[in-house]
Symmetry: D2
Subunit: 326 residues, 4 copies
């Protein structure tokens, strides 16, 4: 049994809560976001407990009280600049990696024209091999932010370690990548910045684990999480990852958080991206994250999975008309 | 190295072919659809060989010469009644299992009104356990065909064994189910009926294996194959199967055969079906196979994954408008 | 609710059973192996029902009453010639495919000397592509049986279709391959021969499905089933299939049937076979099925996964000493 | 193309290397462990390049020059206290989580008596949910180290974040857990401590990715890596993870690093552990990591997957005799 507690609970309210619990013989151990209860939990009177000042929610077992959707709850809306994830269709676009000030500025203007709402671009890249391009580093963050400003787009950038977080002060949204989905120290530290978090699903993660990682962020006091599906490992290797379409309605039924999809990493081939992107939006994705490069053949990282700005513009045009059907 | 040979090749042309091969020291072993070559294959002159009368194609290794798409080939169109798979959007609909003459007639009219083009209904059901409902059997085939006639719909019905094939004379299209995708005896015998074949993907099959099973049918002289994706096994059990959206464009790039999707079996839950169905069509599926029941809660088989005729009608309405965008 | 009935039940006993059920308002529908009950099943008195003559067992839901292990049941022993699966370590060995009378005779003597107890060799081969070697066919069965006789080994041979069954009259054990694990018509027809059945696990099958397929055979009145694990599909393609070691103790805890392992198909590389084979026996496999060829480089089918008779002899020597530890 | 460079290369040797490369028109970009080459790499004379002072190795593409096994290389041996991974069988044992000074001391003596060579015990626990027990924290590390000293066992402990590393000064070996296998910042920082690293395989990681993560550590100048397989995700959920037995010989063929197995996490059930443990050692695992608790039913974390010290003693006895066979 878990009690979620308002981080701004008053001392006297906290005192009342502990007294209520100890009076009936329930042990309370602090945990992230509140208290874990043990002992005579059958004596709890849930309405009384829930009504105590500072008590946000009471849940059982492996529940995720902050992430789970309650019947009477509206969808959460996460704002990044003028984009509203969970309310409107949001398109995040940009290169896999920031390569130079010129490159990211050029692409920023191009994706803005093609209908994008948020600019992406990796500066520290998590790469399987230590010998492949690891990103331009700290300098690139400045280039990204400046490009976003000039093109009128908020920015999202992946963060790889707690130590790097101070470099991201001007970035609008922090991305936690698939490989770090269960890097709990990073989840907590990123949450503490107060910035909106884009949480990608791990390549071997179940939906339950993905939502539980989101719960870490919410339990740290940051409600602004956008979930991003990017495909999982599977035995049939026609594309890079398996983008299971049944996941979308399943996740949306479980959580009030906005869910978007990154088809570029799942496909690993830009030629597959437009049809897959249209498919996931038709199936209910609330947004897309698309890798775009104006010269894919020269990209320092993952060029083959990028699409051109022209392809993105055509895709966004179709999605607009799709929205009128749905 | 494989040579595909026209089944109607003349004796003299066959003789010429064998002489050409033996003259240059190439061994020719008969295989399904033609000859497998061994020995001095480096001496083959491909233009000469391909120009010989009765030689349809020459391929190497694990190629699938009949199923693979050549650059200059149009999509294949498979006609079943007035439905044209590969040309128009085709909706197959009906109950998981035929239960009675009344049930299938009632549902036939309902799905016709809801925009379906082909009527489905299983009579012999392949069930994991020997103790669950195995279908009404041979009698049901007559009910299905009669219901199709009265509602003006051609019919498709799954066949489980070679011995049952004579019962399917009045059915318009034979379905080979996921569990029998590599039941090669059944593939060959079904092909020999000349009827169009709906070939479902096995739950643990790669795309390559699925296409190779289609090649068995084509190599048996029956070109009328429609591929039906129904999801594969995966580790993340949010729904019954994983319906990987990257598969569709991958398969369509490899083969000229029409590809449709069965979202009902992948979802295992009728509430997920409409959004998933819309998604796969937006991503390029050329048709759908949907389980429909007018009283899902009383269905003898797989009731929870069925949708009602009203839901189907709404879905087909959206798909029509979607077609104007794509 | 399922009632399993002795196939040799007397007419009067069957009459008494039906009367008992109808008197309390329970509907009884024939199913494979017995009756499926519906209606007022809460009125059943299980001790009374179980005590009726001809009633073998009563089970609920998706249970597998014949395959499941009861606490007080000994392991089943399946005899094939002088080999006793489930009692002693049994080694099945031989080539992937029978190629000629000479080849199988030569290998039969070699594997006998190397400690094998049963001779294998495929005559009809299930191949992914229609253009690869499909086996020597019916003639090979005679060669296999004769080789077994001369070497003093019983034989096992894979059967692909119901129509081929009459050809297998002299074979001692029938193999149902991975691709046909859910070919229920074949399971029933093979069971009806009364011969012991070697049932391989499907490449995408769960343990539950594998056991349910065994239940089809037992419910058809044939108790002599040996389960053979051969690995399943997975995302990490270091070898051909994933041979999950946790499966063995899990399956053995669920069923009384003997369980052996085929490491050759899982590895797809003869160099990996000895260590994997030793590992599965140490983990509790009751036998092995190993592909052996005296000239792997010239084998018509799956040569790279075969080991030589010398390697098999060394492996069987180690396994004998391993048995003293376990 | 990658050049691995000795971290202690002299300035003049580095200068010579750069001059050689620029003279022939090859671009050299610093990367972890050396230089990544681009441009006119076809002009490189490999014998000349390899012979230059300070050049350790030259590799191509996605190769892992430090981790890969060269034909003429002996197995690496990693020493932790008196244990020699890669030379002798090494048994790591202890509780999932350190709970108190008394608990870890008691279990340390018990596993020492049962034949263990290294003591394990988690202090910071990575848990899927933020509401489950997260470990006793920094205090526990002192308890673990003291228990190891008193029982005469070196210690291994999992580290979750770069910031926590200073707390691990007295621990003999650092464990990088499955969830952090691609937390590259942590890999580099842990490597920099100079301590031996136990690198677990991620739950969705391929063998290639696992080895590439080890390459990060070696490329950071720390050669003391022990690989630990713990099973991966799969579709068949009989146990917690799939412990594919074909992985062991595959990994051992690719790398000179020692490879051990953790059957406890793969099984998730202590009753399955002994047979699986024996199986992996018979198949070539060079050691085991086993969770042991003297009172599994009261463990704060993962009690059901622990075995008792008595079970461990029996297992280690069997493994000793197994060693005489192998």
């Amino acid at each position: 049994m878990i009690i979620l507690i308002d981080p701004k609970i008053s001392q006297s309210a906290l005192h009342d809560l502990y007294r209520y619990l100890s009076d009936i013989g329930v042990l309370a151990n602090p945990c992230s976001g509140g208290l874990r209860l043990e002992g005579a939990v059958e004596r709890l009177d849930l309405p009384t407990l829930t009504a105590l000042p500072g008590v946000l929610a009471v849940g059982e077992g492996m529940t995720l009280p902050l992430v789970q959707r309650k019947e009477d709850t509206e969808h959460s809306v996460v704002r990044v600049g003028e984009a509203s994830f969970g309310k409107d269709y949001v398109c995040i676009a940009g290169p896999c990696a920031v390569e130079s000030a010129e490159q990211i500025l050029r692409i920023a203007h191009a994706v803005k024209s093609a209908g994008a709402h948020v600019l992406r671009g990796g500066c520290f890249k998590p790469r399987t091999s230590p010998y492949t391009f690891q990103g331009v580093g700290a300098e690139g963050i400045g280039w990204l932010v400046e490009a976003g400003k000039q093109a009128g787009l908020p920015t999202v950038c992946e963060v790889l370690s707690v130590e790097d977080l101070p470099l991201y002060g001007s970035v609008d949204m922090l991305q936690i990548g698939a490989r770090n989905m269960q890097n709990f120290a990073l989840l907590r530290a990123a949450a503490a910045t107060g910035k909106p978090i884009l949480l990608k699903r791990g390549m071997g993660a179940t939906v339950e684990e993905w939502l539980a990682s989101a719960e870490y962020i919410l339990a740290s006091g940051n409600p602004n999480v956008v979930l991003c599906e990017r495909g999982v490992r599977h035995f049939a290797t026609s594309a890079r990852a398996s983008l299971d379409l049944t996941t979308l309605p399943t996740v949306k039924a479980r959580t009030h958080l906005p869910v978007i999809v990154d088809p570029s990493h799942a496909c690993g081939d830009g030629r597959l991206v437009p049809s897959v992107a249209l498919g996931v939006v038709a199936a209910g994705a609330m947004g897309l994250m698309i890798e775009v490069h104006d010269m894919p053949e020269t990209a320092l990282c993952d060029g083959p999975q990028a699409v051109t700005p022209a392809v993105l513009a055509e895709l966004n045009g179709k999605i607009k008309r799709l929205g009128e059907i749905l």
